[in-house]
Symmetry: C2
Subunit: 481 residues, 2 copies
């Protein structure tokens, strides 16, 4: 059923039945634990996590200090969680050094792949049209964020201009995932076996934004080694379309635009493109973007070895915005934001490298309206010159936008970006062909990327990190939460 309302006239102007068929049954769609009947799955063990001296981070207003990191955390109606002034302590220099001036979600676009009248317009700009901050939810202790997490409220101007608070909308926690920060066993010295291992712990700042049916878990993870990992987890409920049948063999359509996930229910094909804006300030404001191609070379005849080839590095600094549009996965290259004004003792430019994740890009035609509005997804990575009005990849006014104010348009100005205040834009892309496991709620599907110090420090910055003292608790009294 399609109802079109003319909001200027406040009148229903069209009313159409497309399809009359059986309503998908509620049976199997319940996901509340209190309403579900046994048997339940093989239940996970209860757990206690306990830090004798409390958590390792300190929150002072909006500033979080943990290990060698100092990070400002705030909240906005459109972006949700905002990281600012992220700096890492350098033991050699005995001072904090800036990495990220500001980083946050800029847009999420979710185009569905059914071109019919009921679905064609579903290409939501989640942050621009709904507000990824406004749609963020209060986080639940122990489940949304683990034991030991600290929760922070979000306050913003609501839809009617009044102050609006979402309690516990962000959390900060230490992640003890059993990772190894670094290790080495040296077994080649006769009579001596050295094993040194440092366990990996990191600090995570998290928000969850639920834009209608989907829940996005957005994590900013800081590692003592200097890495920042940004990750988005997709969960929630997939969007579905009713059909008359229960078994795919009964289908008479040429294309069902998805997968039958339950009785009378098609999970519709779609994409998620999650775009982050990262105003990096690598050890200062003025930075450059270096694309270092790895190029195969034939071994010169002068080198007398049986080796016929090797690869070498061909660094090229992007002069303008056009030089810095990257489609991932096509060529082997290292992508590094450097500060050309700062060099290490050995003469390397200090920098942070981008370690990309998925290489998914848009598949819609370039002349299609949703893709004109989503032109910011045409490349996985863009670098722009800093401009205070360029914050939202889909444009300042995304609702009913026509694509004339997107990141892709700004990049057309082709500004100089060498040794300037520059901004990196990274899109985490997912093509989603639904499957039955996604129904009625979808196990989290994750993607993301890493920013990793590359000649930023003179040496491994966590070389002189003491192993954590782990203790075993005995004779505890425990209280259920």
């Amino acid at each position: 059923m399609t109802i079109i309302v003319n909001l200027d006239k406040m009148k229903v102007t069209e009313f159409k039945y497309r399809f009359t068929g059986p309503l998908p049954k509620a049976n199997g769609t319940e996901f509340r634990i209190s309403k579900l009947k046994p048997p339940f799955g093989r239940v996970l063990q209860d757990a206690v996590i306990f830090q004798p001296d409390g958590p390792g981070f300190k929150i002072d207003g909006h500033v979080v200090r943990w290990a060698n990191w100092e990070v400002h955390i705030s909240f906005g109606v459109r972006a949700g969680l905002v990281i600012s002034l992220a700096s890492i302590f350098d033991m050699d220099m005995n001072k904090y050094r800036r990495v990220l001036y500001k980083g946050h979600l800029s847009e999420i676009i979710v185009p569905y792949m059914d071109p019919s009248e009921d679905w064609y317009y579903k290409s939501y700009l989640d942050c621009g049209e709904f507000g990824c901050g406004q749609s963020a939810v209060s986080l639940e202790p122990y489940t949304d964020c683990p034991a030991g997490a600290a929760f922070i409220d979000g306050v913003f101007a609501g839809q009617y201009g009044t102050p609006t608070k979402i309690p516990n909308v962000m959390c900060v926690f230490e992640k003890y995932a059993g990772d190894i920060m670094w290790r080495h066993t040296e077994a080649t010295i006769p009579g001596l076996k050295i094993t040194e291992v440092r366990p990996g712990v990191s600090l995570v700042a998290r928000m969850v934004t639920t834009v209608g049916n989907y829940d996005y878990i957005v994590d900013y993870e800081f590692k003592p080694s200097g890495s920042i990992k940004i990750r988005v987890g997709l969960t929630g409920v997939p969007e579905v379309n009713p059909v008359e049948y229960i078994h795919i063999s009964e289908n008479k359509e040429e294309d069902i635009h998805g997968t039958i996930v339950a009785d009378n229910t098609i999970g519709v094909n779609h994409d998620h493109f999650v775009t982050f804006r990262l105003d990096l300030d690598i050890d200062g404001t003025n930075n450059s973007f270096v694309r270092t191609k790895l190029v195969t070379k034939r071994t010169p005849k002068s080198v007398k070895t049986p080796r016929k080839s090797y690869w070498t590095t061909r660094p090229k600094t992007a002069k303008t915005e056009a030089d810095a549009r990257v489609k991932l996965g096509i060529i082997a290259e290292e992508l590094v934001v450097v500060n050309p004004n700062r060099k290490t003792k050995h003469g390397n430019e200090v920098g942070y490298r981008l370690l990309p994740g998925s290489t998914s890009g848009p598949l819609l035609a370039q002349d299609d309206y949703p893709q004109i509005r989503a032109a910011f997804t045409n490349y996985n990575v863009w670098i722009t010159r800093y401009n205070m009005s360029e914050v939202w990849a889909s444009g300042l006014y995304a609702d009913r936008s026509r694509g004339d104010d997107t990141l892709a348009v700004w990049s057309q100005r082709n500004r100089k970006i060498e040794n300037k205040d520059i901004v990196m834009w990274y899109t985490v892309g997912f093509h989603h062909v639904p499957c039955q496991e996604d129904f009625p709620t979808m196990p989290t599907l994750s993607g993301g990327f890493e920013l990793r110090p590359t000649n930023f420090f003179e040496r491994n910055p966590v070389l002189k990190t003491k192993p954590i003292n782990f203790t075993t608790a005995r004779n505890c009294t425990t209280e259920k939460e």
Copy 2:
């Protein structure tokens, strides 16, 4: 200095000085905590992790049971940790269903990118030449594996045929990383706000193999949702080359084949290609490999909407091995191993999807000797017909091999693979341009992939999972470990 020994004659046949220069100083290369002087880095908090009822897994001989998983874990001299008979309990069917008959490391090749006489031959086949099991190390509690881990010894026939044991060479632990298994906040029902969150816990089986300078952390992670994540972490000490200078501006060579990482020390460019052999048995022995292209379509004129395009799925079952050679990152496609003999209630073929990680492939020339031996890296993914003699991607006898018995050669037989017992080969690739942070020990760099159920279950298999009861411990007495 190069010394060539003729092992048949047991004689030194060549002795060459290439280069006389300053020996890199030991200063800055120490990584033992006991030898390092203050100040140390901002130290991470001590931690206690405590499960009142002990860990959630049970080990019975070589079989580990945890949540809905049952997995056999063993050890081999060449592969190290071997996963067998991994099966997941299906609540709807009230039985365990097979996913992975056998999965393990098959080979790691590490070609270095300096073609000179001293380096050209460095293209190590770590598992075939050294033994990734033989080189595996005893794991240290609390640092290599977190609190609550169980350790398992590895026993194999040693170099002289005698039984050899590496104590605690594998560990199994529950990973409480603060992940969310699934969640949804339903805010669209007037007067009712529903939030349901299930925290994510997984089971990890780990080994670390130290082949000379590099330490590889190999993790097999099982999630209650049915996903298997396989991940390799690279750490240890990079291989270095001495040079006369301290600052890059002093360099007179055209190509230094790496990065100056410390005084008189070049970290040499190289790759790591880590190949896993996965004998999948998705709900039975006979499986097929389906490549589903996502294809952009123009909206037909008959569809009266402003939408001009969408993507749809074009599944194609690989008939032979040639159809199943995949270079990742070039086209949008879903890669699914299905059991064509088993369908869901709705008629979907039960399957497991591959969610790839990095798309790095080899850059050496195809006629170069190391690449002929490493031809198994020419594609990121291969599917072969099961053959009991095809286990080691580099060939059964890798040492001094000439590339006539590799995965690439077997695949040339182009056997039929539709509805057969098939084996998936996946290579996790890294190009490594060293940076100063990698010296003297390298913070872990991770890569991997996920195998995820796709129409294997009738619905979200963890829908009916109770939230974990987290408890807060009080009044504990603690003992330092």
